[in-house]
Symmetry: C2
Subunit: 249 residues, 2 copies
């Protein structure tokens, strides 16, 4: 990556048997990834692990020491397979407690229908700060640089939006895309030279194939708008040289 390396970095940890079993296709990574780009935070790794405490503990400890922020999704509900809060407490080496404010919110929401199972959703590692859940009340939580959210996309999104503006970011990562219909192998050598001349931006080459139609997206990413525009122009010219009809997006 040619972007400045002191920009904040992030990892996503998906706690999800349902993703590993193929029952659902994860949608949370793409939502978070796009928001991080706009906020100038570099998403550097994603892991999906099963609902097994040791796997969650090992993954979150590996990620929180390497990256500025870790965003986890899944496993914070009231049922037997929701082991995220307990696993995070183990990972952080602190007790799992009933968070007084979370308990208050759940009691206010459920009234006389509060049950021990519903109160399980008030558990956090000791020292955690709540993340609001405007949708179904049961909160997520932040502990140091780890943000623990629900797995249901609509709830995760509401939680994420509630804190992202408060996080330190870097300059937004801008991108330009040059679309054409020529095979990438035709321009690969010249593209490599061009990428070297523009080593201060990232240039990616992404082919697609649909029923006999070749598509190619050349994507320029970086923080300097002027250099981005120069690289984009150079790419469009390279495509034209090879008889392609570049479209800039």
């Amino acid at each position: 990556m040619s972007e400045e390396s002191n920009a904040p970095s992030a990892a996503i940890l998906i706690i999800g048997n349902e993703v590993l079993s193929g029952r659902v296709q994860d949608a949370n990574v793409n939502f978070i990834a796009k928001k991080l780009v706009a906020h100038g935070i570099r998403l550097r790794e994603v892991r999906v692990v099963p609902d097994i405490e040791k796997e969650i503990v090992d993954a979150v400890n590996a990620l929180r020491s390497r990256f500025s922020y870790v965003f986890s999704t899944g496993g914070i509900g009231p049922t037997h397979d929701d082991i995220t809060a307990q696993s995070m407490a183990t990972a952080f080496g602190v007790p799992l407690i009933v968070h007084p404010e979370a308990k208050k919110r759940l009691e206010a929401y459920y009234g006389d229908q509060i049950t021990p199972a519903r109160l399980l959703m008030a558990r956090t590692p000791e020292g955690a700060v709540l993340i609001d859940n405007p949708s179904t009340i049961a909160p997520g939580f932040r502990f140091e640089n780890v943000f623990v959210m629900a797995g249901v996309p609509s709830i995760m999104q509401a939680m994420f939006d509630s804190f992202i503006d408060g996080l330190a970011g870097g300059p937004a990562i801008l991108s330009r895309t040059v679309l054409c219909k020529i095979p990438e192998s035709l321009i690969a050598e010249e593209l490599g030279e061009l990428a070297q001349n523009f080593s201060d931006v990232d240039i990616g080459s992404y082919p697609s194939f649909r029923v006999g139609n070749i598509g190619l997206a050349l994507v320029v990413r970086g923080v300097d708008e002027k250099r981005l525009d120069e690289a984009t122009k150079a790419l469009a010219k390279l495509v034209q040289t090879h008889g392609g009809d570049p479209k800039i997006e």
Copy 2:
């Protein structure tokens, strides 16, 4: 997981700046996950890493030592950002060579339009076995328990289908789903007891929320059809006890 632990396991390694940047939503994990379920192979972890050699090397070495199979996607094309073959050779501690059969295939396909860039797609770690690419010729490769495939979904799928039937699997993992519209917190305690009584199958609880509509999917997974049916019936009865109208899928 209550499934037998000696069944073959697997991890997926997505090499993809385009997923981390949010440009595309990965579709390869869900395709592979579903196929592995049918084949009796347990998908235990997914990682997405950037197009950086050290990240790829560290991830593939961590995964190939822990799981029966590792399936990687992305980064095997002809352009400057395609560093998977080189990174895999580094991870395996063997030289990167031009694979004679791959070279032959590419020369036959491109004829007099063969170029040095196109021949880059013939590189594999020494000792690798080719994975056929019926779509665009440039092959993937297998090295020990690591399967290296293209990132473009249609090509990845063709590659995967070319070898999956030849891999040792276990008993297929079957599943039943009980759908209803009651909040999971209402049945959480009884569900936990039920899950303990059926500790030989996995029971997951997955809520959904769409514009005021609560949905709940109770998913039973395991290899013993009889126990699956018994657990499914018990779940349906539990839902009915709480005034829900269970639908079994």
